[in-house]
């Protein structure tokens, strides 16, 4: 059996050699010699095909037919290569989708994927669809209104109408206890970001580190067991407030709403579910 297998290898190699080398280059060898050579091939199989003499070909008639078949069926290396690379891409892609990636990139990715999936469902079933998160549409709406030089109150009405019809969705942090879109904060953030973009200055720079006063703000010094004191800030939600607006108030940046949300998870189920009169802990920036 080993002999047959070896002979099969030799035959394969010979066929390759026939293709690669000039015809008639090698001397004719008796069959035994071919097998002996094939034996030596075992130690260095890679070098085999090129070094095999042409004349091994006559060994062919002696070979049982089924033996070479499985070897011939083996895929050519070139095919394997593409196979592997696309499999790797696929695996990496799947791993990425499964969240086996830094958490920072996972959540926005899932948000985008979810938003796209929702949009896909909505395209087929507009009646059954929920409000679609379409930030780009919201942006377009605001940008258009700003370009037209519309007043803040006009934009406020426009956004609220669009949001109530489910045409746009807004960040949960920008929903007031009355269920309206906090357009003022939204616009203030756009203006602040625009200012930062043009002057290279972070929008929160002014507010940072400065004590925030005003209605609803409460600062308490708590003395701890070791004698040191820690300052706690609280804010009581008022009419028209949104988590985003509160974030702007304390940190100068609407995007920091999440800090407040996280610090108040015990009383807030979602950033858009704040109620007038709720007393929120404001973590230090």
């Amino acid at each position: 059996m080993i002999r047959i297998a070896l002979a099969a290898t030799a035959f394969l190699g010979a066929t390759l050699a026939l293709v690669l080398l000039l015809p008639g280059a090698g001397p004719k060898l008796p069959e035994e010699a071919a097998v002996t050579r094939a034996d030596s091939l075992l130690s260095q199989p890679n070098a085999a095909p090129a070094r095999l003499p042409l004349a091994v070909a006559p060994a062919r008639p002696n070979l049982p037919q089924p033996s070479p078949a499985p070897r011939v069926a083996a895929p050519a290396p070139a095919v394997l290569l593409t196979d592997n690379s696309s499999l790797r891409d696929m695996t990496n892609g799947v791993l990425g989708e499964l969240g086996l990636q830094p958490a920072t990139s996972e959540v926005p990715q899932m948000r985008d994927m979810t938003a796209n999936a929702l949009a896909n469902i909505g395209r087929v079933r507009p009646s059954a669809s929920q409000p679609q998160p379409q930030p780009e549409k919201l942006q377009a709406l605001i940008a258009q209104a700003l370009k037209q030089g519309q007043s803040d109150s006009y934009i406020d009405a426009l956004l609220n109408e669009a949001a109530s019809r489910g045409e746009v969705t807004v960040l949960k942090a920008l929903v007031t206890p009355e269920g309206r879109v906090d357009t003022a904060t939204l616009l203030a953030n756009i203006v602040a970001s625009a200012t930062a973009a043009t002057q290279g200055k972070a929008p929160g720079d002014l507010a940072k580190g400065q004590p925030v006063g005003g209605k609803g703000v409460e600062v308490r010094m708590v003395t701890q067991a070791d004698g040191s004191s820690v300052q706690y800030q609280f804010y009581t939600v008022g009419v028209g407030d949104s988590l985003g607006a509160i974030a702007v108030k304390f940190y100068g940046d609407v995007a920091k709403f999440n800090m407040i949300f996280e610090a108040n998870r015990t009383i807030l189920s979602s950033p858009d579910k704040i109620r007038v009169g709720q007393r929120l802990v404001i973590p230090r920036a």
Partner: protein, 208 residues
């Protein structure tokens, strides 16, 4: 001579008769093609009419590594009906076109973009994982109603899910995640053949 004439005549017939020959590859003996109107858009499902057509590329592979690309059983879960192509087309006509059902391509968007079954919407399996913090939005869009105790899927859509084929885990996984979330299995269907069989049968593919 007569033979040659006959051959020439046959050749001319072949050339002239293209339209009538184009009906050669039917979906079933009684059905050449199917037009389905979904949300005002007409979808046509037919088969490639070239008798010599063969697949090339990705869907001709025989030996993807398992795991992860293992062969799936016929059933994707207790109570979940498994569909073939004819049943899938019927689902498009009876449920999707009527607005009571949705054909869901569970693959990731990159694959969906390469081509999908006409009428399918892309809801990647990853978005139905319990780890997706935004999953509730999708369950709501599918008609689920969040109650004090959990979800009410009584008015939810009938779903037919598919992915790349019998070796693809994505739609069975999506089905598992849906049933675990409380989606009634009788509202779920599994097209096990997936893109692999759909393409192999030369059925229409829609590129979003």
């Amino acid at each position: 001579m007569v033979r040659m004439l006959c051959r020439a005549a046959a050749a001319v017939l072949v050339l002239l008769g293209q339209p009538s020959w184009a009906e050669d590859v039917r979906i079933t003996a009684d059905l050449a093609a199917k037009q389905i109107v979904v949300n005002g858009q007409t979808l046509e499902i037919a088969r490639i009419q070239d008798n010599a057509h063969m697949l090339t590329g990705e869907f001709t592979k025989t030996s993807r590594a398992c795991p992860p690309f293992c062969i799936h059983p016929i059933s994707a879960g207790a109570g979940v009906e498994t569909l073939g192509e004819i049943e899938l087309i019927a689902f498009l006509e009876k449920s999707v076109a009527q607005g009571t059902g949705l054909l869901i391509d569970s693959r990731v968007p990159e694959w969906f973009a390469k081509g999908t079954i006409p009428g399918a919407v892309n809801v990647p399996f990853t978005t139905l994982e319990p780890t997706n913090p935004y999953r509730d939005e999708i369950l709501k869009a599918l008609g689920g109603v969040k109650t004090a105790t959990g979800w009410d899927f009584g008015a939810a859509l009938d779903l037919a899910m598919f992915c790349n084929g019998p070796w693809c885990d994505q739609s069975p996984r999506a089905i598992r995640n849906l049933t675990e979330a409380g989606y009634p299995p009788e509202k779920l269907r599994y097209y096990r053949g997936g893109m692999q069989l759909w393409l192999l049968l030369g059925l229409s593919v829609q590129t979003p």
